[in-house]
Symmetry: none
């Protein structure tokens, strides 16, 4: 199966403000055909550097997708650079020019002289008409390499790729099937996890395994690409059957669902309700729970108690408990969760109290409480991280404590 | 002035889910030194392709920054690839290994055998200690090219770059002065803003102006690079003096401060306190307010009232008000804010109630309330956006309402 590279053209993509996001869409589309994207390059509107990028990509990969640089201005150089790199000329197409003029006229505008630049096509290229803009795309096969030139705006690029490039790519490629499985894990470090499962995945030569740390969770992606569907399915199933028992109940989802979505499903299935009491996280836990549509089915609400006084007043935490143990302590975390449960009448309640920092000698110390019909528990965590991560990671632990309780797993 | 290239290493950055965002930060930092980033490359965890990228970059540019691939696992190949590309060996450093072991022990973990990989340093490289993770960075000058190896996690990369790479880069570069001004604007669309100010900034040939839409706000960045400090300062000051009056009190900060930071300063200066009552946003507003360190100086806390019952019970919203107007209405937003203010005893309170979607005929309709010593107000907003944006944008409006009230600006 041939590999692909994506070259995003445009000096604005080399500023601190802009990212090339077209490549995510294109990667998804190419992956679905069984094509791997092996390199992405961003290069500015500079003829020599662009030519160099095109030649490099063509020497390495069989599919080269270029996005952007097809506009009418002088810094739009993709047409010229590809033509130059392939030693081909540019040919003026009167029909394209007429189309651009008609399009602009339809929108009440007169065609500027510079728009004529967009009517030049690389010798031997197929024109990819653009229903949503003035810049047509181009498709050229040259020495066994397919070059695809697409306009930068996503609303022009996407329909052009789906309607005109996919059918052409499918003709080039051998039939392939891809099957994947996403394991999402919480409560374990990346290197520990890798040490545990790498002896297994290394034995599967045709399986691509990716391990990714995301905001305190680990995502394991298994991906098989085969000629036949049942081959790919068998490969993924076999590897999963070996890997999942090693990770055990730390795997919280196998289909890409988020932790808050898993909690949502568990609570809905049990007809149970939830509330929260947050100090250090200031509302992030509630914000995350309510990122799931229709969270009101099970989420009652909660309390953001950022001061001692609010913990006492809103959650009924005894003042003497705070005086004795401080607000960041196991008994206070427990009292906060129980106070939220009592105050909202929910079945379950989660609490978070801790030192998010950025300064102070106890930074990263967090207590997370769970109040439930079958009793309360508190976990103590010491994070090595900064304020943003202490807060984000703590919401993981809280949701995972609830997940484990709902599934009757040991804490 | 030498150019730079950035190579982001990691197969996960070649999936449809992940972007290399470190390069935005690095570009900003390099630009501030007067260094242009001329190419960005993303390459997977594959030795040969990585080596090829390193050799290509070094042949073109004098500064090559590599991010990622410094972890402990076998697919972390940056150290090996750079060493190989430069024909240098890797040397084991016992002191780095001891440091990793001590760090992991502090967090109650045992060092895995594979962590030893992170103690290998390219022959002749300077070690860049990592205060926030196990992977040290590396700095090597080779044939006039500076290679900088940085860990992928932003919280490890950023302090390492600022504290250890900037001083080294400054020594390499000719003196240049850059002066910038960030105008942050809320309550206005990107194209309206551009239409308003583009006649001004287009007259300044040596000023780089960038307009950026970020989560419902607009950031305008003015940037002058000159040989002398007073030239750059004059240029930025002149342009600002023309642009700022056009934007008026929609500009909430001129120094890069976030809206929540501006609110923090205003409340602190007045010795005033704040609380929140959130429905649709489920805690995001509180989460954002408490993203500012020491928010406890002015933030009392709040209520996440996701059901009608909780609005009645926790905030004292009259049941008949909800029955008559529904929970998403001006009177209920007002009663929520006033209930939060009364319940916490704060000077100010903000409330948000709305339909975040994703479905329903009133999706995007949000009421935002402010209760204050000098009276309450409610704003009605109809967003054209999806669930995530409805929620995020609504927190902007809430904070901006408070800003305007604190500054005695008209609503």
């Amino acid at each position: 199966m041939p590999d692909a590279e994506i070259i995003a053209v445009g000096s604005e993509l080399l500023t601190p403000q802009r990212l090339d996001t077209n490549s995510l869409y294109l990667t998804d589309q190419l992956n679905a055909l069984g094509v791997e994207v092996v390199r992405k390059t961003v290069v500015g509107d500079e003829r020599e550097r662009l030519t160099d990028s095109i030649l490099g990509a063509a020497a390495r990969s069989k599919i080269v997708v270029l996005t952007g640089g097809l506009g009418p201005t002088e810094d739009d150089l993709t047409r010229e650079a590809v033509a130059g790199a392939l030693g081909r000329s540019l040919v003026f197409h009167q029909d394209i020019c007429d189309g651009i003029e008609a399009r602009l006229r339809f929108f009440g505008r007169k065609m500027a002289e510079i728009n004529r630049r967009q009517a030049y096509v690389i010798e031997g290229a197929e024109v990819l008409p653009n229903a949503r803009g003035t810049a047509p795309g181009q498709w050229i096969l040259n020495d066994g390499v397919a070059f695809v030139l697409l306009p930068g705006p996503p609303m022009e690029l996407k329909p052009m790729f789906e309607q005109q490039c996919l059918p052409r790519l499918e003709k080039l490629l051998p039939p392939q099937v891809i099957r994947t499985r996403w394991l999402r894990v919480v409560g374990m470090g990346e290197s520990d996890l890798d040490q545990l499962i790498s002896p297994v995945y290394k034995r599967y030569a045709n399986l691509v395994t990716t391990i990714l740390a995301v905001s305190g969770e680990i995502h394991v992606h298994l991906r098989a690409r085969c000629a036949l569907a049942h081959e790919a399915e068998t490969l993924v199933a076999q590897a999963s059957a070996e890997i999942e028992p090693l990770l055990g109940d730390r795997v919280y989802s196998c289909n890409g669902d988020s932790l808050e979505q898993v909690i949502a499903d568990l609570l809905r299935a049990r007809g149970a309700s939830l509330s929260v009491a947050e100090s250090a996280t200031g509302g992030l836990l509630g914000g995350r729970i309510t990122a799931v549509p229709s969270a009101s089915d099970y989420f009652r609400g909660g309390f953001v108690t950022y001061s001692d006084q609010m913990k006492i007043r809103l959650l009924g935490v005894p003042a003497e408990l705070i005086a004795e143990h401080t607000a960041v302590s196991e008994p206070v975390a427990k009292a906060m969760a129980e106070g939220a449960r009592a105050g909202t009448g929910s079945d379950y309640a989660l609490s978070i109290t801790g030192y998010a920092g950025p300064e102070g000698e106890k930074v990263g110390l967090v207590f997370i409480g769970l109040a439930a019909p079958d009793g309360s528990e508190v976990r103590r965590v010491q994070w090595p991280a900064d304020r943003d991560r202490v807060r984000a990671f703590s919401t993981n632990i809280a949701l995972d404590m609830l997940r484990r309780r709902l599934l009757d797993l040991k804490p």
